[in-house]
Protein backbone atom coordinates (compact mmCIF):
# COMPACT_ATOMS: atom_id res chain seq x y z
CA UNK A 1 0.00 0.00 0.00
CA UNK A 2 1.48 3.35 -0.91
CA UNK A 3 1.89 5.91 1.78
CA UNK A 4 -0.77 8.11 0.23
CA UNK A 5 -3.27 5.28 0.13
CA UNK A 6 -2.36 4.32 3.61
CA UNK A 7 -3.12 7.69 5.09
CA UNK A 8 -6.13 8.12 2.88
CA UNK A 9 -7.46 4.80 4.09
CA UNK A 10 -7.03 5.86 7.66
CA UNK A 11 -8.55 9.30 7.33
CA UNK A 12 -11.24 9.06 4.78
CA UNK A 13 -12.64 5.55 5.08
CA UNK A 14 -15.47 6.71 7.26
CA UNK A 15 -16.08 9.88 5.32
CA UNK A 16 -16.30 8.13 1.96
CA UNK A 17 -18.77 5.58 3.21
CA UNK A 18 -20.80 8.38 4.72
CA UNK A 19 -20.95 10.10 1.37
CA UNK A 20 -21.98 6.85 -0.29
CA UNK A 21 -25.01 6.76 1.92
CA UNK A 22 -26.27 9.92 0.24
CA UNK A 23 -26.98 8.13 -2.99
CA UNK A 24 -29.54 5.78 -1.47
CA UNK A 25 -32.55 8.02 -1.29
CA UNK A 26 -35.54 6.60 0.51
CA UNK A 27 -39.08 7.50 -0.49
CA UNK A 28 -39.71 9.78 2.47
CA UNK A 29 -36.49 10.80 4.07
CA UNK A 30 -32.92 10.19 2.95
CA UNK A 31 -30.76 7.76 4.88
CA UNK A 32 -28.68 9.44 7.52
CA UNK A 33 -25.15 8.66 8.66
CA UNK A 34 -24.01 9.90 12.05
CA UNK A 35 -20.29 10.08 12.64
CA UNK A 36 -19.40 10.28 16.30
CA UNK A 37 -16.65 10.01 18.86
CA UNK A 38 -16.41 6.30 19.82
CA UNK A 39 -16.92 7.12 23.49
CA UNK A 40 -19.83 9.53 23.15
CA UNK A 41 -23.18 8.26 24.40
CA UNK A 42 -25.58 11.11 23.67
CA UNK A 43 -25.07 10.70 19.91
CA UNK A 44 -26.56 7.20 20.19
CA UNK A 45 -29.61 8.64 21.91
CA UNK A 46 -29.96 11.15 19.10
CA UNK A 47 -29.78 8.33 16.55
CA UNK A 48 -32.57 6.52 18.40
CA UNK A 49 -34.66 9.69 18.33
CA UNK A 50 -34.26 9.94 14.56
CA UNK A 51 -35.15 6.28 14.09
CA UNK A 52 -38.31 6.76 16.14
CA UNK A 53 -39.13 9.52 13.68
CA UNK A 54 -38.78 7.33 10.61
CA UNK A 55 -35.16 7.90 9.61
CA UNK A 56 -32.89 5.06 8.64
CA UNK A 57 -29.72 5.88 10.58
CA UNK A 58 -26.24 4.39 10.40
CA UNK A 59 -23.85 5.29 13.23
CA UNK A 60 -20.11 5.26 12.61
CA UNK A 61 -17.29 5.93 15.07
CA UNK A 62 -14.25 7.99 14.13
CA UNK A 63 -11.30 9.76 15.74
CA UNK A 64 -11.23 12.15 12.77
CA UNK A 65 -14.34 14.21 13.46
CA UNK A 66 -12.50 17.51 13.46
CA UNK A 67 -10.89 16.75 10.09
CA UNK A 68 -14.21 15.70 8.59
CA UNK A 69 -16.01 18.75 9.89
CA UNK A 70 -13.42 20.96 8.25
CA UNK A 71 -13.66 18.95 5.04
CA UNK A 72 -17.42 19.43 5.04
CA UNK A 73 -17.19 23.15 5.74
CA UNK A 74 -18.52 23.24 9.29
CA UNK A 75 -17.38 26.44 11.07
CA UNK A 76 -15.76 25.81 14.47
CA UNK A 77 -18.39 27.78 16.35
CA UNK A 78 -21.13 25.58 14.92
CA UNK A 79 -19.45 22.22 15.35
CA UNK A 80 -21.60 19.77 17.28
CA UNK A 81 -20.40 16.77 19.23
CA UNK A 82 -21.31 14.58 16.27
CA UNK A 83 -21.76 15.12 12.54
CA UNK A 84 -24.63 13.81 10.43
CA UNK A 85 -24.56 13.49 6.67
CA UNK A 86 -28.05 13.60 5.16
CA UNK A 87 -28.74 14.05 1.46
CA UNK A 88 -26.38 16.84 0.44
CA UNK A 89 -26.41 18.44 3.88
CA UNK A 90 -24.46 18.28 7.11
CA UNK A 91 -26.47 18.39 10.32
CA UNK A 92 -24.48 19.25 13.46
CA UNK A 93 -25.61 18.50 16.98
CA UNK A 94 -29.00 17.59 18.43
CA UNK A 95 -31.19 19.23 15.78
CA UNK A 96 -34.94 18.49 16.13
CA UNK A 97 -36.67 16.59 13.30
CA UNK A 98 -38.91 19.58 12.54
CA UNK A 99 -35.82 21.61 11.51
CA UNK A 100 -34.50 18.72 9.42
CA UNK A 101 -37.84 18.43 7.64
CA UNK A 102 -37.77 22.14 6.89
CA UNK A 103 -34.28 21.71 5.44
CA UNK A 104 -35.36 18.81 3.24
CA UNK A 105 -38.51 20.58 2.08
CA UNK A 106 -36.90 23.93 1.23
CA UNK A 107 -33.58 22.51 0.02
CA UNK A 108 -31.66 25.79 0.42
CA UNK A 109 -28.24 26.26 -1.16
CA UNK A 110 -26.26 25.90 2.09
CA UNK A 111 -23.81 23.35 3.54
CA UNK A 112 -25.83 22.48 6.57
CA UNK A 113 -27.50 23.38 9.84
CA UNK A 114 -26.45 23.25 13.47
CA UNK A 115 -27.86 23.40 16.95
CA UNK A 116 -24.69 24.32 18.85
CA UNK A 117 -24.02 23.89 22.53
CA UNK A 118 -25.91 20.65 23.22
CA UNK A 119 -28.79 22.43 25.00
CA UNK A 120 -30.59 20.61 27.79
CA UNK A 121 -33.82 19.00 26.66
CA UNK A 122 -32.82 18.82 22.98
CA UNK A 123 -33.38 15.47 21.24
CA UNK A 124 -31.02 12.85 22.66
CA UNK A 125 -29.94 15.10 25.53
CA UNK A 126 -31.09 14.80 29.12
CA UNK A 127 -32.89 17.54 31.05
CA UNK A 128 -35.81 19.69 30.06
CA UNK A 129 -36.04 22.46 27.52
CA UNK A 130 -35.68 25.85 29.16
CA UNK A 131 -35.47 28.10 26.11
CA UNK A 132 -36.30 27.90 22.38
CA UNK A 133 -33.71 26.07 20.28
CA UNK A 134 -32.02 28.35 17.73
CA UNK A 135 -30.87 26.32 14.73
CA UNK A 136 -28.26 28.01 12.54
CA UNK A 137 -27.39 27.55 8.87
CA UNK A 138 -23.87 27.75 7.43
CA UNK A 139 -22.10 27.46 4.10
CA UNK A 140 -23.51 30.46 2.27
CA UNK A 141 -22.24 33.76 3.56
CA UNK A 142 -21.92 34.19 7.31
CA UNK A 143 -23.79 31.73 9.51
CA UNK A 144 -27.30 32.90 10.42
CA UNK A 145 -30.48 31.70 12.05
CA UNK A 146 -32.20 28.97 10.07
CA UNK A 147 -35.15 28.39 12.36
CA UNK A 148 -36.15 28.72 16.00
CA UNK A 149 -37.92 25.68 17.44
Amino acid sequence: MTIRNRIQAAIFAVLLSAVTAVSTLAADRPDATIIKNPQCGCCESYADYLRENGFKVTVKASHDLTLMKREMGVPDDFAGCHTMVLDKYVVEGHVPVSAIDKLLAERPDIKGISLPGMPQGSPGMSGTKTAPFTVYQFGQGPAKVFTVE
Binding site: I7, A10, I11, Q39, L67
Partner: protein, 475 residues
Protein backbone atom coordinates in the same frame (compact mmCIF):
# COMPACT_ATOMS: atom_id res chain seq x y z
CA UNK B 1 12.17 -4.61 7.12
CA UNK B 2 15.00 -3.59 9.36
CA UNK B 3 14.62 -3.83 13.06
CA UNK B 4 13.55 -0.36 14.06
CA UNK B 5 13.22 -1.21 17.70
CA UNK B 6 16.64 -0.33 18.90
CA UNK B 7 17.12 3.29 18.02
CA UNK B 8 18.12 4.23 21.54
CA UNK B 9 21.32 5.67 22.78
CA UNK B 10 23.02 2.44 23.73
CA UNK B 11 24.57 1.91 27.08
CA UNK B 12 27.93 1.59 25.38
CA UNK B 13 27.81 4.97 23.67
CA UNK B 14 26.49 6.45 26.85
CA UNK B 15 29.38 5.09 28.84
CA UNK B 16 31.75 6.48 26.26
CA UNK B 17 30.17 9.91 26.68
CA UNK B 18 30.38 9.64 30.45
CA UNK B 19 33.99 8.55 30.25
CA UNK B 20 34.88 11.57 28.19
CA UNK B 21 33.18 13.79 30.72
CA UNK B 22 35.02 12.17 33.59
CA UNK B 23 38.26 13.26 32.01
CA UNK B 24 37.16 16.88 32.36
CA UNK B 25 35.79 16.82 35.89
CA UNK B 26 38.24 14.85 37.99
CA UNK B 27 36.77 13.38 41.15
CA UNK B 28 38.64 14.58 44.25
CA UNK B 29 40.35 11.77 46.12
CA UNK B 30 38.48 12.50 49.36
CA UNK B 31 35.01 12.24 47.77
CA UNK B 32 32.82 9.39 48.96
CA UNK B 33 32.69 6.58 46.42
CA UNK B 34 29.60 7.01 44.30
CA UNK B 35 28.19 5.76 41.05
CA UNK B 36 29.23 7.75 38.00
CA UNK B 37 27.52 10.77 36.57
CA UNK B 38 25.91 10.28 33.17
CA UNK B 39 25.63 13.20 30.80
CA UNK B 40 23.64 13.78 27.67
CA UNK B 41 22.65 16.75 25.54
CA UNK B 42 19.11 17.09 24.24
CA UNK B 43 18.19 19.62 21.58
CA UNK B 44 14.51 20.31 21.00
CA UNK B 45 14.02 21.59 17.47
CA UNK B 46 11.84 21.39 14.37
CA UNK B 47 12.80 18.62 11.98
CA UNK B 48 11.40 15.99 9.68
CA UNK B 49 11.19 12.24 10.03
CA UNK B 50 9.91 9.16 8.24
CA UNK B 51 6.80 8.37 10.24
CA UNK B 52 4.94 6.51 7.54
CA UNK B 53 7.62 4.81 5.50
CA UNK B 54 11.37 4.51 5.34
CA UNK B 55 12.17 6.23 2.06
CA UNK B 56 9.17 8.27 1.02
CA UNK B 57 7.62 11.43 2.35
CA UNK B 58 8.97 12.92 5.54
CA UNK B 59 6.65 14.37 8.16
CA UNK B 60 7.56 17.70 9.73
CA UNK B 61 7.84 17.22 13.47
CA UNK B 62 9.41 18.75 16.55
CA UNK B 63 11.91 16.36 18.03
CA UNK B 64 14.83 15.80 20.39
CA UNK B 65 18.18 15.38 18.64
CA UNK B 66 16.44 15.07 15.29
CA UNK B 67 14.55 11.89 15.92
CA UNK B 68 11.24 10.57 17.16
CA UNK B 69 11.25 9.27 19.80
CA UNK B 70 14.16 11.20 21.25
CA UNK B 71 17.23 9.20 22.29
CA UNK B 72 16.62 6.41 24.78
CA UNK B 73 18.36 7.56 27.94
CA UNK B 74 19.53 4.48 29.81
CA UNK B 75 21.29 4.63 33.16
CA UNK B 76 21.57 2.39 36.18
CA UNK B 77 19.57 2.80 39.38
CA UNK B 78 21.31 5.15 41.80
CA UNK B 79 23.31 6.91 39.13
CA UNK B 80 23.18 10.63 38.66
CA UNK B 81 21.95 12.04 35.36
CA UNK B 82 22.83 15.44 33.91
CA UNK B 83 20.93 16.55 30.83
CA UNK B 84 21.63 19.83 29.06
CA UNK B 85 18.47 20.77 27.17
CA UNK B 86 18.89 23.30 24.39
CA UNK B 87 15.73 24.94 23.12
CA UNK B 88 15.84 25.17 19.33
CA UNK B 89 12.11 25.89 19.06
CA UNK B 90 10.60 29.30 18.50
CA UNK B 91 8.65 29.05 21.75
CA UNK B 92 9.48 28.30 25.40
CA UNK B 93 9.85 24.73 26.57
CA UNK B 94 10.81 22.54 29.57
CA UNK B 95 11.50 18.85 30.11
CA UNK B 96 9.60 16.78 32.67
CA UNK B 97 11.07 13.40 33.73
CA UNK B 98 7.80 11.59 33.92
CA UNK B 99 7.52 9.23 36.89
CA UNK B 100 10.99 9.80 38.25
CA UNK B 101 11.00 11.11 41.82
CA UNK B 102 13.29 14.07 41.27
CA UNK B 103 13.81 17.18 43.43
CA UNK B 104 11.24 19.92 42.81
CA UNK B 105 13.60 22.26 40.94
CA UNK B 106 14.32 19.51 38.38
CA UNK B 107 10.70 18.57 37.65
CA UNK B 108 10.38 20.67 34.51
CA UNK B 109 7.06 22.45 35.10
CA UNK B 110 7.08 26.00 33.69
CA UNK B 111 6.79 28.76 36.31
CA UNK B 112 5.98 26.26 39.07
CA UNK B 113 9.42 24.61 39.28
CA UNK B 114 11.53 26.65 36.87
CA UNK B 115 11.57 29.55 34.47
CA UNK B 116 10.73 28.09 31.07
CA UNK B 117 13.67 27.64 28.70
CA UNK B 118 13.54 30.50 26.20
CA UNK B 119 14.28 29.91 22.50
CA UNK B 120 18.03 29.55 22.03
CA UNK B 121 18.69 28.99 25.72
CA UNK B 122 19.96 25.89 27.53
CA UNK B 123 18.88 24.53 30.88
CA UNK B 124 20.80 21.83 32.71
CA UNK B 125 18.81 19.25 34.63
CA UNK B 126 20.68 17.12 37.14
CA UNK B 127 19.28 14.53 39.53
CA UNK B 128 19.76 11.04 40.98
CA UNK B 129 17.68 8.14 39.73
CA UNK B 130 16.42 6.61 42.97
CA UNK B 131 14.22 3.92 41.41
CA UNK B 132 14.68 1.45 38.58
CA UNK B 133 12.04 1.19 35.88
CA UNK B 134 10.58 2.45 32.63
CA UNK B 135 10.03 6.20 32.48
CA UNK B 136 9.90 8.85 29.77
CA UNK B 137 10.63 12.52 29.22
CA UNK B 138 8.59 15.22 27.52
CA UNK B 139 7.92 18.99 27.69
CA UNK B 140 5.44 20.42 30.16
CA UNK B 141 5.04 23.71 28.31
CA UNK B 142 2.08 23.70 25.91
CA UNK B 143 2.50 19.95 25.99
CA UNK B 144 -0.69 19.31 24.00
CA UNK B 145 1.20 20.66 20.99
CA UNK B 146 4.87 20.05 21.87
CA UNK B 147 4.36 16.39 22.78
CA UNK B 148 1.84 16.03 19.96
CA UNK B 149 4.44 17.14 17.43
CA UNK B 150 6.93 14.53 18.59
CA UNK B 151 8.86 15.82 21.61
CA UNK B 152 9.27 12.80 23.86
CA UNK B 153 11.72 10.00 24.55
CA UNK B 154 12.18 6.90 26.72
CA UNK B 155 14.11 7.02 29.99
CA UNK B 156 15.15 3.61 31.26
CA UNK B 157 16.62 3.12 34.73
CA UNK B 158 18.16 -0.34 34.84
CA UNK B 159 18.04 -2.58 37.90
CA UNK B 160 21.41 -3.46 39.42
CA UNK B 161 20.47 -7.09 38.78
CA UNK B 162 17.96 -7.04 35.95
CA UNK B 163 15.85 -10.14 35.23
CA UNK B 164 17.36 -12.56 32.76
CA UNK B 165 15.86 -12.05 29.30
CA UNK B 166 17.07 -12.54 25.75
CA UNK B 167 16.17 -9.03 24.66
CA UNK B 168 15.18 -5.82 26.40
CA UNK B 169 12.86 -4.01 23.99
CA UNK B 170 11.13 -0.64 24.25
CA UNK B 171 8.01 0.19 22.27
CA UNK B 172 7.08 3.85 22.47
CA UNK B 173 3.47 4.02 21.27
CA UNK B 174 2.07 7.19 19.78
CA UNK B 175 -0.55 8.37 17.34
CA UNK B 176 -0.64 11.28 14.93
CA UNK B 177 -3.36 13.20 13.18
CA UNK B 178 -1.97 13.28 9.67
CA UNK B 179 -3.42 14.82 6.55
CA UNK B 180 -3.31 13.27 3.11
CA UNK B 181 0.19 14.69 2.48
CA UNK B 182 1.53 12.91 5.61
CA UNK B 183 1.87 16.23 7.43
CA UNK B 184 0.52 16.88 10.92
CA UNK B 185 -2.94 18.45 11.06
CA UNK B 186 -2.53 21.88 12.63
CA UNK B 187 -5.75 21.79 14.64
CA UNK B 188 -4.03 21.51 18.02
CA UNK B 189 -6.16 22.51 20.98
CA UNK B 190 -9.44 22.68 19.10
CA UNK B 191 -12.61 22.82 21.14
CA UNK B 192 -13.97 19.45 20.07
CA UNK B 193 -10.88 17.50 21.08
CA UNK B 194 -10.59 19.45 24.29
CA UNK B 195 -14.14 18.81 25.47
CA UNK B 196 -14.33 15.17 24.34
CA UNK B 197 -11.66 12.44 24.35
CA UNK B 198 -8.66 14.62 23.46
CA UNK B 199 -6.66 14.66 20.26
CA UNK B 200 -6.71 11.08 19.01
CA UNK B 201 -4.84 10.55 15.76
CA UNK B 202 -5.40 8.46 12.66
CA UNK B 203 -1.88 7.04 12.34
CA UNK B 204 -0.31 4.88 15.04
CA UNK B 205 3.46 4.53 15.31
CA UNK B 206 5.75 2.26 17.31
CA UNK B 207 9.08 3.95 18.03
CA UNK B 208 8.21 6.74 15.60
CA UNK B 209 7.32 4.63 12.59
CA UNK B 210 4.24 2.85 11.26
CA UNK B 211 5.27 -0.71 11.96
CA UNK B 212 4.04 -3.82 10.21
CA UNK B 213 6.28 -6.44 11.68
CA UNK B 214 8.38 -7.28 14.70
CA UNK B 215 10.81 -10.16 14.38
CA UNK B 216 11.10 -12.79 17.11
CA UNK B 217 12.68 -16.18 17.70
CA UNK B 218 10.97 -19.32 18.98
CA UNK B 219 11.66 -19.82 22.67
CA UNK B 220 12.86 -16.27 23.14
CA UNK B 221 12.06 -14.28 26.27
CA UNK B 222 11.61 -10.55 25.77
CA UNK B 223 11.24 -7.82 28.33
CA UNK B 224 8.86 -5.51 26.55
CA UNK B 225 8.69 -1.98 27.89
CA UNK B 226 5.53 -0.26 26.67
CA UNK B 227 5.35 3.53 26.89
CA UNK B 228 2.21 5.39 25.82
CA UNK B 229 3.43 8.78 24.57
CA UNK B 230 0.14 9.69 22.85
CA UNK B 231 -1.70 12.88 23.76
CA UNK B 232 -4.98 11.10 24.31
CA UNK B 233 -5.21 7.62 22.80
CA UNK B 234 -5.69 4.75 25.22
CA UNK B 235 -4.19 1.52 23.92
CA UNK B 236 -5.87 -1.80 24.78
CA UNK B 237 -3.46 -4.46 23.58
CA UNK B 238 -4.14 -8.12 22.94
CA UNK B 239 -1.38 -10.60 22.08
CA UNK B 240 -3.05 -13.31 20.02
CA UNK B 241 -2.26 -16.78 21.41
CA UNK B 242 0.28 -15.44 23.91
CA UNK B 243 -0.05 -14.56 27.57
CA UNK B 244 2.62 -12.08 28.66
CA UNK B 245 3.38 -11.40 32.33
CA UNK B 246 3.09 -7.92 33.79
CA UNK B 247 6.12 -7.22 35.98
CA UNK B 248 5.83 -3.44 36.40
CA UNK B 249 3.31 -0.62 36.04
CA UNK B 250 4.69 2.89 35.52
CA UNK B 251 8.18 1.55 36.16
CA UNK B 252 7.29 0.17 39.59
CA UNK B 253 7.52 -3.58 40.30
CA UNK B 254 4.27 -5.48 40.77
CA UNK B 255 3.60 -9.14 41.66
CA UNK B 256 4.09 -10.83 38.28
CA UNK B 257 0.71 -11.77 36.84
CA UNK B 258 -0.37 -13.05 33.46
CA UNK B 259 -2.43 -10.97 31.07
CA UNK B 260 -5.37 -12.95 29.81
CA UNK B 261 -7.62 -10.25 28.39
CA UNK B 262 -6.92 -6.78 27.09
CA UNK B 263 -4.01 -4.83 28.50
CA UNK B 264 -5.06 -1.19 28.84
CA UNK B 265 -2.41 1.50 28.86
CA UNK B 266 -3.53 5.11 29.10
CA UNK B 267 -1.59 8.18 28.00
CA UNK B 268 1.73 8.58 29.88
CA UNK B 269 1.45 5.13 31.46
CA UNK B 270 4.07 2.41 31.10
CA UNK B 271 3.86 -1.35 31.45
CA UNK B 272 6.79 -3.78 31.59
CA UNK B 273 5.98 -7.24 30.26
CA UNK B 274 7.79 -10.53 30.12
CA UNK B 275 6.77 -11.97 26.76
CA UNK B 276 7.66 -15.61 26.19
CA UNK B 277 7.59 -16.47 22.50
CA UNK B 278 6.07 -19.91 22.73
CA UNK B 279 5.30 -20.38 19.02
CA UNK B 280 7.26 -22.28 16.38
CA UNK B 281 9.68 -21.03 13.74
CA UNK B 282 7.71 -19.53 10.87
CA UNK B 283 4.67 -18.69 13.02
CA UNK B 284 3.20 -15.22 13.25
CA UNK B 285 0.71 -13.57 15.54
CA UNK B 286 -0.99 -10.20 15.78
CA UNK B 287 -0.74 -7.63 18.52
CA UNK B 288 -4.07 -5.85 18.29
CA UNK B 289 -5.43 -2.68 19.83
CA UNK B 290 -9.07 -3.27 20.70
CA UNK B 291 -9.70 -0.41 23.10
CA UNK B 292 -12.18 1.61 21.03
CA UNK B 293 -14.87 -0.92 20.27
CA UNK B 294 -15.74 0.12 16.71
CA UNK B 295 -12.19 1.09 15.80
CA UNK B 296 -10.11 -2.01 16.46
CA UNK B 297 -6.98 -2.51 14.39
CA UNK B 298 -3.81 -4.56 14.23
CA UNK B 299 -0.86 -2.73 15.79
CA UNK B 300 1.70 -5.09 14.22
CA UNK B 301 2.50 -8.72 13.50
CA UNK B 302 5.10 -10.60 15.49
CA UNK B 303 6.84 -12.92 13.04
CA UNK B 304 8.97 -15.86 14.14
CA UNK B 305 12.23 -16.32 12.29
CA UNK B 306 13.38 -19.69 10.93
CA UNK B 307 15.59 -20.61 13.90
CA UNK B 308 14.68 -21.74 17.39
CA UNK B 309 16.54 -20.00 20.20
CA UNK B 310 15.85 -22.66 22.84
CA UNK B 311 13.80 -25.84 22.93
CA UNK B 312 11.95 -25.25 26.16
CA UNK B 313 10.68 -21.75 26.88
CA UNK B 314 11.78 -20.28 30.17
CA UNK B 315 9.18 -20.97 32.84
CA UNK B 316 9.51 -18.89 35.96
CA UNK B 317 8.97 -15.17 36.11
CA UNK B 318 10.59 -13.55 39.13
CA UNK B 319 9.40 -10.33 40.71
CA UNK B 320 11.57 -7.28 40.18
CA UNK B 321 13.39 -6.03 43.30
CA UNK B 322 11.44 -3.40 45.25
CA UNK B 323 12.11 0.26 44.61
CA UNK B 324 12.64 2.81 47.35
CA UNK B 325 9.23 4.40 47.93
CA UNK B 326 8.23 4.60 51.60
CA UNK B 327 5.21 2.45 52.42
CA UNK B 328 2.10 4.50 53.31
CA UNK B 329 0.54 3.71 56.70
CA UNK B 330 -3.12 3.31 55.80
CA UNK B 331 -4.27 3.19 59.43
CA UNK B 332 -3.01 6.68 60.20
CA UNK B 333 -3.39 8.15 56.70
CA UNK B 334 -5.38 11.35 56.29
CA UNK B 335 -8.09 11.05 53.63
CA UNK B 336 -9.04 13.69 51.06
CA UNK B 337 -11.67 13.70 48.35
CA UNK B 338 -10.84 15.15 44.91
CA UNK B 339 -13.58 15.58 42.31
CA UNK B 340 -12.94 15.72 38.58
CA UNK B 341 -15.68 17.39 36.55
CA UNK B 342 -16.66 18.81 33.18
CA UNK B 343 -16.59 17.70 29.60
CA UNK B 344 -19.41 16.77 27.30
CA UNK B 345 -22.25 14.82 28.91
CA UNK B 346 -20.84 15.71 32.31
CA UNK B 347 -23.89 17.61 33.44
CA UNK B 348 -21.69 20.34 34.90
CA UNK B 349 -23.51 23.64 35.21
CA UNK B 350 -20.99 26.01 36.75
CA UNK B 351 -17.27 26.09 37.39
CA UNK B 352 -14.72 28.44 38.88
CA UNK B 353 -12.31 29.96 36.39
CA UNK B 354 -9.82 32.70 37.21
CA UNK B 355 -11.54 33.24 40.55
CA UNK B 356 -15.12 33.67 39.33
CA UNK B 357 -18.11 31.44 38.67
CA UNK B 358 -18.85 30.83 35.01
CA UNK B 359 -21.24 28.64 33.06
CA UNK B 360 -20.12 25.74 30.89
CA UNK B 361 -20.59 27.64 27.62
CA UNK B 362 -18.56 30.62 28.79
CA UNK B 363 -15.89 28.24 29.98
CA UNK B 364 -15.79 26.60 26.56
CA UNK B 365 -15.49 29.96 24.84
CA UNK B 366 -12.43 30.59 27.01
CA UNK B 367 -10.81 27.31 26.02
CA UNK B 368 -11.64 25.44 29.21
CA UNK B 369 -13.83 22.39 29.72
CA UNK B 370 -12.64 20.52 32.82
CA UNK B 371 -12.28 21.07 36.55
CA UNK B 372 -10.54 19.72 39.65
CA UNK B 373 -12.64 20.34 42.76
CA UNK B 374 -14.81 22.72 40.73
CA UNK B 375 -11.93 24.87 39.48
CA UNK B 376 -10.73 25.06 35.87
CA UNK B 377 -6.97 25.77 35.97
CA UNK B 378 -5.74 28.62 33.78
CA UNK B 379 -1.98 28.02 34.16
CA UNK B 380 0.60 25.97 36.03
CA UNK B 381 0.73 28.24 39.06
CA UNK B 382 -2.32 28.32 41.34
CA UNK B 383 -3.47 27.92 44.91
CA UNK B 384 -2.86 24.31 46.00
CA UNK B 385 -5.89 22.03 46.07
CA UNK B 386 -4.23 20.32 49.03
CA UNK B 387 -1.38 21.06 51.40
CA UNK B 388 0.21 17.90 52.80
CA UNK B 389 2.59 17.55 55.76
CA UNK B 390 5.92 16.10 54.76
CA UNK B 391 6.44 12.38 55.52
CA UNK B 392 2.78 11.83 56.45
CA UNK B 393 0.66 9.17 54.78
CA UNK B 394 -2.34 10.21 52.71
CA UNK B 395 -5.23 8.57 50.92
CA UNK B 396 -6.71 10.54 48.04
CA UNK B 397 -10.18 9.47 46.92
CA UNK B 398 -10.35 10.43 43.26
CA UNK B 399 -13.89 10.87 42.05
CA UNK B 400 -14.39 10.95 38.27
CA UNK B 401 -17.71 12.74 37.85
CA UNK B 402 -17.32 12.91 34.08
CA UNK B 403 -18.36 10.65 31.20
CA UNK B 404 -14.74 10.27 30.02
CA UNK B 405 -11.52 8.45 30.85
CA UNK B 406 -8.82 10.36 32.70
CA UNK B 407 -5.25 9.16 33.38
CA UNK B 408 -4.36 11.24 36.45
CA UNK B 409 -0.68 11.94 37.03
CA UNK B 410 0.93 13.08 40.29
CA UNK B 411 4.40 14.61 40.02
CA UNK B 412 7.25 13.91 42.44
CA UNK B 413 5.74 10.74 43.93
CA UNK B 414 4.56 7.25 43.14
CA UNK B 415 1.40 6.06 44.89
CA UNK B 416 -0.32 2.76 45.52
CA UNK B 417 -3.71 2.27 43.84
CA UNK B 418 -5.62 0.68 46.71
CA UNK B 419 -9.25 0.54 45.55
CA UNK B 420 -11.57 1.02 42.59
CA UNK B 421 -15.25 1.73 43.18
CA UNK B 422 -14.83 0.59 46.78
CA UNK B 423 -13.25 -2.77 45.88
CA UNK B 424 -9.65 -3.31 47.02
CA UNK B 425 -7.26 -3.76 44.11
CA UNK B 426 -5.59 -7.14 43.82
CA UNK B 427 -2.02 -5.94 43.42
CA UNK B 428 -2.04 -2.58 45.27
CA UNK B 429 0.07 -1.49 42.32
CA UNK B 430 2.42 1.47 42.50
CA UNK B 431 1.74 4.00 39.74
CA UNK B 432 2.39 7.62 38.96
CA UNK B 433 -0.50 7.85 36.49
CA UNK B 434 -3.77 6.14 37.34
CA UNK B 435 -6.49 5.77 34.76
CA UNK B 436 -10.04 6.44 35.93
CA UNK B 437 -12.88 5.05 33.84
CA UNK B 438 -15.98 7.23 33.36
CA UNK B 439 -17.71 7.82 36.74
CA UNK B 440 -15.12 5.64 38.47
CA UNK B 441 -13.85 6.23 41.99
CA UNK B 442 -10.24 5.34 42.69
CA UNK B 443 -8.31 5.54 45.96
CA UNK B 444 -4.56 6.10 45.97
CA UNK B 445 -2.19 6.11 48.96
CA UNK B 446 1.31 7.47 49.40
CA UNK B 447 3.75 9.16 51.77
CA UNK B 448 4.15 12.83 50.91
CA UNK B 449 7.93 12.78 51.20
CA UNK B 450 9.04 15.09 48.41
CA UNK B 451 8.77 18.78 49.35
CA UNK B 452 7.36 21.34 46.94
CA UNK B 453 4.31 22.17 44.88
CA UNK B 454 3.53 19.27 42.56
CA UNK B 455 1.38 19.10 39.46
CA UNK B 456 -1.62 16.80 39.69
CA UNK B 457 -3.34 16.58 36.34
CA UNK B 458 -5.03 14.58 33.64
CA UNK B 459 -2.50 13.31 31.10
CA UNK B 460 -4.93 13.54 28.23
CA UNK B 461 -3.07 16.67 27.26
CA UNK B 462 -6.14 18.47 25.88
CA UNK B 463 -7.91 17.84 29.19
CA UNK B 464 -4.93 19.25 31.06
CA UNK B 465 -4.90 22.36 28.86
CA UNK B 466 -8.67 22.49 29.26
CA UNK B 467 -8.38 22.97 33.03
CA UNK B 468 -8.03 19.50 34.57
CA UNK B 469 -4.96 20.37 36.56
CA UNK B 470 -4.12 21.25 40.14
CA UNK B 471 -1.20 21.68 42.53
CA UNK B 472 -0.59 19.54 45.61
CA UNK B 473 1.77 21.22 48.05
CA UNK B 474 4.05 19.13 50.26
CA UNK B 475 5.48 21.19 53.12
Amino acid sequence: MKNTFNNGLSRRSFLAAAGAAAGVAAVPAWAAPSLPLRQIDLAAAPGATHLVDSDGTKTKVWSYNGRVPGPEIRIRQGERLRVAVRNGLTEETTVHWHGLRVPHAMDGVPHLTQKPIAPGETFVYEFDAPDAGTYWYHPHQRSFEQVGRGLYGPLIIEETNPPQVDRDVTWVLDDWRLLIDAQISEDFGNRHDMSHAGRIGNTVTVNGRITDMFEARAGERIRLRLINAANARIFGLEFDGHTPWVIAYDGQPVDPHQVTGRLDIGPAMRIDLILDLTGDPGDAFAVRDTFYSRLKYRLLNVVYGPKRLRDKPMRKVAALPDNTMPEPDLASAERHHIAFGGGMMGGMAMAKMGGREVGMMEMMRNGKAWTVNGVAATGHVMDPILTLARNRSYILALDNQTAWYHPIHLHGHSFRVISRNGEPTRHKEWQDTVMMAPREQVEIAFVADNPGGWMFHCHILEHQAGGMMGVIQVT
